[in-house]
């Protein structure tokens, strides 16, 4: 039994995680004893929060591939997230607004198709900017991606006829399969977490493959990887494209969840938050992603509600300070992230005990 578990740790882990997620979602569908999901958590965590955690998990998994495995920093991931959200919002409303493609653009599958188109567009954009940008290293790459994210954020506020300016776009349709609407939130929850788990599985497969080894090789020694036959430029670009497509998918899911899109959620602070989430979960641990996102959500909610009482200031900007402190502490004491870090600590303690017993 233990042998089986050890050989299939990943599959068992995925299954267990999926069951827990499904069970949590089922609470709101079946309402046992009239209870809702938020009642289980003392109304602190709501279905809404869970959906947001699921959406950002998808972005963070992509960031893990890029930063944790390929070792390429991105401080502009919110930009790709925005591209996905805007592309989906624009493409799913534009045709019907202008009475074009009647009989096609008003079909239930049109928004789904547009999610795929958005991913392709965002991926294509990442490919184009990736070629020149990924020649940069370290701080320079960080600055370039930072700038890219800010440019996309600003563009989101321009071209009012298309993007709706700083007020944003409204009327993004809810998703449905045939006539089955994936709404209210307790239904959307299953879509988002289904997508998140699929992305986690796919990313895990990638990192455990020849491609994943190539990415890790680039991370530790670009020249050595290159002389081992790895086309380093190509794989760095591929990692960026994959991470951008994850962010795009998440953005699309966000747009159909909110039903409106405005530039504000995609600002620089979101990019920083995403990096902190990835670092907290463990930069090179795909499985850490949902936990990193969840923890930052918990901390942020706590800060928003408590910071005023503690510091006697009106909150908001102070979150960034806390993120900075957290990031520094994690990088010093648990560079492998909280999930892997904790697992390693438990293993070490077990080993120590085993040594003492012999």
């Amino acid at each position: 039994m233990t042998k089986f578990l050890r050989a299939h740790t990943n599959s068992v882990g995925i299954l267990a995680f999926a069951i827990v997620i499904a069970a949590l979602g089922a609470v709101d569908v079946f309402r046992p004893f009239g209870l809702r999901f938020s009642d289980l958590t003392g109304r602190v965590v709501t279905m809404d929060t869970m959906i947001r955690i699921g959406i950002l998990t998808i972005v963070v998994v992509g960031l893990n591939l890029l930063m944790g495995y390929a070792g390429q920093v991105s401080l502009g991931q919110a930009g790709f997230y925005a591209l996905g959200a805007y592309a989906s919002a624009i493409l799913s409303t534009l045709a019907s607004r202008h009475k074009l493609l009647i009989g096609v653009a008003d079909q239930w599958w049109w928004p789904w198709l547009m999610i795929a188109v958005s991913m392709a567009l965002t991926g294509g954009f990442a490919y184009l900017v990736g070629k020149p940008i990924l020649r940069l290293k370290g701080n320079y790459l960080a600055m370039a991606t930072l700038g890219l994210g800010i440019i996309i954020y600003i563009l989101g506020g321009q071209f009012e006829e298309i993007t709706g300016g700083y007020d944003g776009l409204t009327g993004v349709p809810r998703l449905q399969v045939g006539s089955f609407r994936l709404w209210p939130p307790e239904r959307y929850y299953f879509l988002v977490w289904g997508a998140a788990i699929a992305v986690i599985v796919i990313a895990t497969n990638i990192v455990n493959s020849r491609i994943g080894r190539a990415l890790r090789a680039i991370h530790t020694g670009e020249v050595a990887a290159n002389t081992c036959g790895v086309d380093t430029e190509r794989y760095k670009v591929q990692a960026l494209v994959a991470s951008a497509m994850c962010a795009s998918l998440a953005g699309s899911l966000y747009a159909h969840f909110q039903s409106t899109v405005s530039p504000n959620p995609f600002n620089f602070r979101t990019s920083v938050e995403l990096v902190v989430m990835a670092a907290v979960g463990g930069l090179s641990s795909i499985w850490g992603a949902p936990f990193g996102v969840g923890l930052i959500f918990a901390i942020r909610d706590l800060l928003r509600s408590r910071l005023e009482d503690i510091l006697h200031v009106r909150g908001g900007e102070y979150e960034l300070i806390v993120y900075g402190v957290m990031l520094t502490l994690i990088m010093i004491f648990m560079p492998e992230g909280l999930t892997s870090g904790t697992v390693n600590m438990i293993r070490k303690a077990q080993r120590r005990r085993a040594v003492r017993e012999t």
Partner: protein, 255 residues
């Protein structure tokens, strides 16, 4: 017969400093050629030029008739050349086995999508990669430690691991940059045996080395560099008695 590697008038200038100055030599198929010379003679620079890590300022390099100038390192690896580094460059975030598996990269082709969905051919290829990597580890005697972290190995074995990783690319020409540096006597004897067995398997070996005794025992021919220029070439016995070589190694005043 066409030489395996032909280097003609190779030149590399670093901001006014001539690191390699019009060096020409060729490596015949199946031989062990050593490049020697004092510190700063340009030996490692030549390796970096041949393997595509640096771009030459002038001259040409041909591998079995194919021009190497301007090719990226991974493209050169695909043409059948592999190298090791003077300061061992292992992937510290991987196991010993995984390090060698990276070496199989250019000989395998499963892409992002087939990896993402674990398609049958991707799984089959992954098994083949693992088997071949294990075989290369066995060759250098590290198969028992396959799942340990690469950096947990003592230094001497790290060098062997790096050679195994290079062998996994199935090179016809193997470049070894100071393979004996930092090794003790028994380790050097082991390395000597390994290099000979690599040559006996039909590979050509080009190595840079400091240890004269080691070079003299293993090399078929020797190229001597000093201040970026070739000052002598010949069998170990010939270069050992060359006046310019002795001068370069011992200083002018000794002659």
């Amino acid at each position: 017969m066409q030489p395996h590697l032909e280097v003609t008038d190779l030149r590399k200038e670093f901001e006014g400093l001539m690191a390699v100055f019009d060096v020409s030599f060729s490596v015949e198929t199946g031989e062990i050629l050593a490049i020697i010379g004092p510190n700063g003679a340009g030996k490692t620079t030549i390796f970096n030029l041949i393997s595509g890590v640096l771009l030459p300022t002038g001259g040409t390099m041909h591998l079995q008739g194919r021009k190497l100038n301007g090719l990226k390192p991974h493209a050169i690896t695909r043409l059948g050349m592999a190298r090791t580094f003077q300061s061992v460059q292992l992937f510290g975030n991987m196991t010993i086995l995984e390090n060698v598996m990276v070496g199989r990269h250019s000989k395998t082709k499963c892409g992002m999508l087939s990896a993402a969905f674990q398609l049958p051919h991707a799984r089959r290829e992954e098994r083949a990669i693992r088997d071949r990597a294990m075989a290369e580890l066995a060759r250098v005697g590290l198969e028992a430690k396959a799942n340990d972290n690469a950096l947990s190995l003592p230094f001497g074995q790290q060098r062997l691991l790096e050679i195994a990783r290079a062998l996994a690319t199935e090179p016809r020409l193997l470049l070894l940059d100071e393979p004996g540096a930092g090794l003790n006597r028994p380790e050097k004897e082991e390395l000597d045996r390994l290099i000979r067995s690599i040559r006996d398997d039909g590979m050509t070996v080009l190595l840079v080395e400091h240890d004269m005794q080691f070079v003299m025992s293993i090399a078929d021919r020797v190229v001597v560099l000093d201040y970026g220029q070739k000052i002598a070439e010949g069998t170990p016995a010939e270069v050992q008695v060359d006046r310019r070589v002795i001068a370069a190694y011992l200083g002018e005043e000794m002659v």
